[in-house]
């Protein structure tokens, strides 16, 4: 008996949940170090960076697009914040030197991420570039800017205040996990309960119809890419603060992990179908898998192969159970 799409959506998430539970049980049996509070918190902290990127990626993919530039934006935004907090900003050709507080630098990092995301949105709507191309270009631009800004060297020694973002904790839970949790709740509400969220699904589900219904498709898309960029900026801050170092290469190929999490979470790459909750599960699955393979001493090269197959199998199962849409 084929399932209706509504039930099917729940089924996909249920399946992700079951997969996550099974993995957890299996790893608990295989490794005594897996099912401990410390390791649990460790996994959540590791997942928090990909979660920020994946939430933004979910919005982008729901709108019918893709964003390849989030990893590079993460790198540049982290570098900007680190550079500003450490060295401040000298405006060339003048004697003006701006010194930044930690919060000023943090804000600047997020804003730079949002700005590059906005750039993506404008390229896609105003200049009609396919999202793949627009963000592929941005991948290179942002990475290049990160190298220009840092001169190719890590920026280190950022101070305890800045480091707090990455290493601080509240109630025994690391700050990155709190940040991640806040974004999950925020964007669950945004996608389920706001006009913007509804419009996002509409644009991804049928852009022409959305336009004819009076939706400002360009504005929605620009907002989506801007949000994805800002979230990448936040992720960049977490990475930089945790390492107390901004590497120009930070976030290299992170966009692929984000896309993988979204896809494993059951969101359709063609847009209009998917949930933040699914992405949360997808992220956790990847996080648990990474952690488990590490604990089991699986060689890193093999880990890549295994992760690749997890993505393929997850999507293959999705495809196999998808109703073939045929007009009767």
């Amino acid at each position: 008996m084929p399932l209706s799409p509504a039930i099917k959506g729940q089924f996909v998430q249920l399946r992700s949940l079951i997969a996550l539970v099974l993995m957890t049980i299996a790893l608990s049996l295989l490794s005594p170090h897996f099912l401990t509070t410390d390791n649990g918190i460790n996994i959540l902290r590791q997942v928090s960076i990909n979660m920020c990127l994946s939430i933004g990626m979910t919005l982008v993919i729901l709108s019918g697009g893709i964003d390849l530039s989030v990893g590079a934006i993460l790198g540049f935004a982290g570098a900007i914040a680190a550079g500003l907090v450490k060295n401040g900003l000298s405006i060339p050709g003048t004697d003006v030197h701006l010194q930044f507080t930690t919060s000023g630098a943090i804000l600047a990092g997020v804003l730079v991420g949002a700005l590059l995301g906005f750039h993506n949105g404008v390229a896609i709507t105003r200049f009609r570039l396919p999202p793949f191309i627009a963000t592929l270009g941005m991948l290179s631009i942002a990475r290049g800017l990160a190298f220009l800004w840092t001169g190719g060297f890590p920026i280190t020694g950022l101070g305890a205040d800045f480091g707090f973002i990455g290493t601080g904790a509240w109630l025994g839970v690391p700050l990155p996990v709190w940040i991640m949790a806040a974004f999950i709740v925020l964007f669950l509400v945004v996608t389920k309960r706001t006009r913007f969220g509804r419009h996002l699904y509409a644009v991804g589900g049928n852009e022409r119809a959305a336009r004819l219904t009076g939706l400002n498709v360009s504005r929605i898309k620009i907002a989506v890419y801007t949000l994805a960029g800002a979230l990448a900026g936040v992720a960049g801050l977490i990475v930089t603060a945790r390492l107390d170092s901004a590497q120009p290469n930070a976030g290299l190929s992170y966009e692929l992990d984000a896309i993988a999490a979204v896809v494993i979470g059951g969101t359709s790459l063609s847009g209009g179908r998917g949930t933040i909750f699914g992405t949360v599960l997808g992220c956790l699955i990847i996080g648990v898998l990474n952690n488990g393979l590490f604990l089991l001493n699986v060689p890193p090269m093999l880990q890549y192969v295994i992760k690749g197959y997890v993505i393929l199998v997850a999507v293959a199962i999705d495809q196999a159970s998808a109703p073939r849409n045929r007009d009767s």
């Binding site: 399932l3 509504a6 022409r208 959305a210 004819l212 219904t213 179908r273 009767s328």
Partner: protein, 516 residues
């Protein structure tokens, strides 16, 4: 030739075919026989199961139960359309399945390209074989022409050519004339007559009764997934067919109410829409019209007359290519986007509902509330309860048949989809409703309901513009009729002045004569 012998030879028989889709029993215990040299017309409202049946017969998907037999009694099951084709069964689908970037020849022989001895495609033979087919179809273009460069009608003929190229014993045609010009229809009918003489068995799905008289030998009528009537065409009357299709006594004519038109609500002056592509042909050329409250203005024209484009231009869909003036309630407006038009009280229900009207993966409620979501907010957030409270009266008013508001619209019939679009627009409380082919692909009963709604809405003080290519529909619905041809307005009639002949004449290009 012995007619009797040929006419009794069964080429393809379906026995007890049943097919279920999620939530819908599409076919139930359906049987029919396709005979050599005869044309079987398959009739029924939309959603009756005709296309599903043909998809089963041509191997697009397998039946859940039942058997398909070939002429020799052999029971067959086709894994895919290719397998059906190999056994002599070909289908021309209603929608086009062509690759726009390949030539006519490459499309027709796609997957069956003739090879030379060296293993490469034998382009000379490909070209010659295609030229022969195009000649049969009276298509005066080179086989090397890219399909994307052809008009839709010509593409339809290429699709038919593809079916001819398989030398099928059984040929299924699903509404093949929907986008053909009258000349192309004549050519197709000629080809069909020729195929009948060669002993090919044809199945023909159509909504156009006038085509039956020219072609038809046998009739099978379907309703709700079952066969409800089967007879020789000569034994049936049109009334009887309509009655069987609708499932009850049908009254053909819709009785329109006449309201005293109110104040002028929309005025269009010299609207011109330039084409987007090369050539810069004008899609709409200097069209003016007025619309009053409580009035229905019909716009009639053939495919390509620029009617849809006129509505789109008025609705602010092509602001950069549109010139001319639009006045709403006497005030000049300049719509930069549909959102502007909606704010001014306009609404547009598009012709292609799946492409332009609905968000298919979204629910009935989400689709219906999409244009008026602002009214369902509570504390800045969408409240599900408020949404359904707000939208339910509209969905109910149009008698949308859906199990629930959370049902995904992709599974609903064309009539119900159209009603959801109407509910969506009525929820914005518009004053001008632009309807583009509001009954296209909709069954007889839903059609009558839509007519009644149009009447009712006019009575409530709205002004409506109804674009249609069905002449009886335009004549029945409109207080005034504007006729368009090749982008220009060619005539305007009051209800009293309008006769089928006069309206049709104004819709035809100068050089063409009235088809007999």
């Amino acid at each position: 030739m012995s007619d009797v012998a040929i006419s009794t030879e069964v080429l393809l028989a379906a026995e007890g075919i049943t097919k279920t889709f999620p939530g819908v029993r599409a076919l139930e215990d359906v049987s029919l026989r396709v005979r050599a040299g005869r044309l079987l017309a398959l009739l029924g409202e939309n959603g009756a199961g005709k296309s599903t049946l043909m998809n089963v017969l041509s191997g697009v998907f397998p039946p859940d139960a039942g058997t398909i037999r070939l002429g020799d009694g052999e029971s067959v099951s086709f894994a895919n359309p290719h397998a059906a084709q190999a056994r002599g069964i070909s289908i021309v689908h209603q929608e086009l399945n062509l690759v726009p970037g390949l030539s006519i020849a490459e499309n027709i022989w796609l997957g069956r390209e003739p090879r030379s001895s060296s293993g490469f495609i034998d382009y000379r033979r490909l070209h010659a074989d295609t030229a022969a087919i195009l000649a049969r179809l009276d298509l005066n273009v080179s086989p090397d022409t890219l399909v994307g460069d052809l008009r839709v009608g010509q593409q339809q003929l290429v699709e038919i050519g593809k079916a001819l190229s398989t030398r099928a014993r059984v040929l299924i045609l699903d509404e093949p004339t929907s986008s053909l010009s009258s000349h192309e229809v004549e050519v197709l009918f000629g080809v069909i007559a020729e195929l009948k003489k060669q002993g090919v068995g044809l199945v023909y799905i159509t909504h156009k009764f006038e085509e039956l008289a020219r072609l038809c030998d046998d009739v099978v009528i379907m309703r709700d997934g079952r066969v409800v009537g089967e007879a020789l065409y000569s034994e049936l009357t049109r009334e009887r067919i309509v009655q069987l299709m609708a499932g009850r006594e049908s009254k053909d004519v819709f009785q329109k109410s006449t309201f005293e038109p109110g104040a002028e609500i929309l005025k269009v002056e010299g609207v011109t829409l330039a084409g987007g592509g090369a050539g810069r042909r004008l899609l709409v050329d200097d069209v003016s019209l007025t619309l009053h409250r409580r009035e229905v203005v019909g716009i009639f024209g053939l495919v390509g007359a620029g009617r849809t484009e006129l509505l789109e231009a008025i609705f602010g869909l092509h602001p950069d290519r549109t010139t001319g003036r639009v006045l709403v309630r006497g005030k000049p407006v300049s719509f930069r986007s549909p959102a502007d038009a909606i704010r001014a009280g306009l609404a547009l229900a598009p012709e292609d509902r799946k492409r332009d009207g609905l968000i298919l993966p979204m629910s009935v409620a989400a689709n219906a509330s999409l244009a008026s979501l602002r009214r369902t907010l509570r504390g800045g957030l969408v409240s599900r309860r408020r949404e359904s409270d707000y939208i339910l009266p509209y969905v109910d008013r149009f008698r949308v048949k859906t199990p629930s508001l959370t049902q995904i619209v992709v599974n609903l019939s064309g009539g119900n989809q159209q009603k959801i679009i109407l509910a969506k627009w009525l929820a914005t409380e518009p004053q001008v409703l632009l309807l583009d082919e509001p009954t296209r692909g909709i069954d007889v009963n839903a059609k009558r309901e839509i007519y009644a709604f149009i009447d009712e809405l006019a009575g409530n003080g709205l002004g409506l513009i109804v674009v249609s290519s069905e002449l009886p529909e335009v004549l029945a619905l409109s207080d005034r009729i504007v006729v368009m041809c090749e982008g220009r307005k060619t005539a305007e009639f009051t209800r009293a002045e309008a006769t089928p002949e006069r309206v049709l004449h104004a819709a035809l290009p100068d050089r063409a004569s009235l088809a007999s």
